[in-house]
């Protein structure tokens, strides 16, 4: 009944789309679940989330002692870093952009190439990668175990389990599951508030679902199909990044990357796996051109032909997916 009322409310203010393959609009399909699912063995508890938050913001997790998870996944910058590509140990640039972690808890695979299966699986990756946080697991465990405040927090969060890579990863993942998109103007519209977004954004949603072909990949409440596509992004140094192909040796995956969420997209630029576009307008232009590098393009990347007004409306719609930033308390770190 609730789903029906949402559908009716949304249709009340939405023009009908005529394209044959555009699904009927069901507003509830676009609303985020209240909570992110947690795996068996790591159900969220306040103690686990608090421990994970402290670890997330603690630069002592890095080999240098000055890079934390939050250095790159900065809550003040859309849980990313505002850079084209991330910057790691020794202030050296990394080859790919730092993805936002907003709603990462809903991703079925993590990282641009999907090489990590879960947040728990992902958490230790950057910490122990030489180019990123340059820490070793034994050194990290020894360092945290020597801090009485952490020992108490681990004992409370994971009774009977030692300070270990496993419990560090589980705690960080527990915190990351709380980093969720907030209610955006688009969400309020989908809940029935026809005044929540501009007419341009409403028209832009039609473009998104219809001639823009965006929803083929950016689908569902998190605006991602959790899939991998080569969309013809040019790598600036002339050395093509093989992307997903490094994980799955299937020809179509050469140059394919994970479809990112569009939630909070106004806050998470630069865009694409290598941060080559600074604005959403540049992103829309990319699709209008059918990509820059045409080799091995995803077959789902169809040519699109939008008017200037449609492109502008599409950008307005994309901006409507950004809510007020989640409020974050920076912790006093355990001693």
């Amino acid at each position: 009944m609730r789903a029906l009322s949402l559908l009716v409310a949304a249709l009340w203010s939405l023009p009908a789309l005529a394209a044959a393959d555009v699904k009927p609009l069901v507003a509830s399909d676009y609303l985020r679940p209240a909570q992110a699912p947690a795996p068996a063995g790591n159900a969220a508890t306040p103690a686990r989330v608090e421990l994970g938050r402290d670890l997330f913001f603690d630069p002592r997790l890095s080999g240098s002692g000055w890079i934390s998870c939050a250095t790159c996944h900065n809550p003040a910058l859309g849980w990313s870093d505002g850079l084209a590509t991330g910057m790691g140990h020794g202030m050296k640039h990394l080859p790919r952009a730092t993805p936002t972690i907003v709603n990462a808890a809903f991703n079925t695979l993590q990282m641009w190439d999907g090489r990590k299966k879960s947040l728990e699986d992902q958490a230790l990756g950057p910490i122990t990668t030489e180019a990123e946080m340059a820490q070793t697991l034994p050194a990290l465990v020894a360092k945290l175990d020597a801090i009485p405040g952490y020992r108490r927090m681990f004992a409370q969060a994971y009774p009977g389990e030692p300070v270990s890579g496993d419990t560090i990863a589980k705690a960080i993942a527990s915190y990351e599951r709380t980093i969720l998109s907030t209610e955006s103007p688009f969400d309020r519209w989908m809940r029935g508030d026809a005044m929540a977004v501009s007419d341009a954004a409403k028209r832009g949603f039609d473009v998104f679902r219809g001639p823009g072909n965006c929803e083929t990949c950016h689908s569902g409440f998190n605006f991602t199909d959790n899939g991998f596509h080569n969309i013809g992004v040019k790598d600036p140094d002339g050395k093509p990044d093989l992307g997903r192909y490094q994980e799955r040796k299937v020809a179509l995956m050469k140059g394919a990357f994970k479809t990112p969420t569009l939630r909070d997209v106004a806050l998470t630029g630069p865009y694409m796996h290598n941060g080559c576009y600074k604005t959403l307008e540049e992103v829309v232009d990319h699709y209008e051109r059918g990509g820059v590098v045409k080799d091995n393009l995803s077959p789902n990347m169809k040519p699109i032909h939008l008017t200037a007004a449609e492109r502008s409306d599409l950008v307005e719609f994309l901006k409507s997916l950004t809510g007020e930033p989640m409020q974050v308390s920076i912790p006093q770190l355990p001693q």
């Binding site: 799955r248 299937v250 020809a251 394919a256 077959p299």
Partner: protein
């Protein structure tokens, strides 16, 4: 001529080698119509795309690897299973699409 019956699967034909069956698995809503399937050596599975976008079905399993390439709605691609074993099948584009085919003697 052998007819196999499995929930969610449409048996299309039994053409080909004697006793070999052809079983159809559809792709709809970014899901296969079956999560598991048991076939016999020599049987074929036809993967039909019922989604409005492309899929690319493949397997990198030791028992049998294949890459059917990408194809659109309404098209099918077929794989004949030549030896016993367990074959994990995925869509390269949509890795949440997974199924396992057990190939028995």
């Amino acid at each position: 001529m052998r007819f196999a019956i499995a929930a969610g699967l449409l048996i299309v034909t039994t053409a080909g080698p004697a006793c070999a069956a052809e079983i159809e698995v559809t792709q709809h809503g970014n899901q296969f119509s079956a999560k598991e399937l048991t076939v016999k050596v020599g049987d074929s599975v036809s993967f039909r795309n019922d989604d409005p976008h492309f899929h690319n079905i493949f397997s990198l399993s030791d028992a049998q690897s294949f890459d059917l390439g990408s194809y659109p709605k309404g098209e099918s691609r077929k794989v004949t299973f030549a030896k016993e074993g367990e074959v994990d099948v995925e869509c390269a584009i949509h890795p949440n699409m997974k199924m396992t085919i057990k190939v028995a003697k």
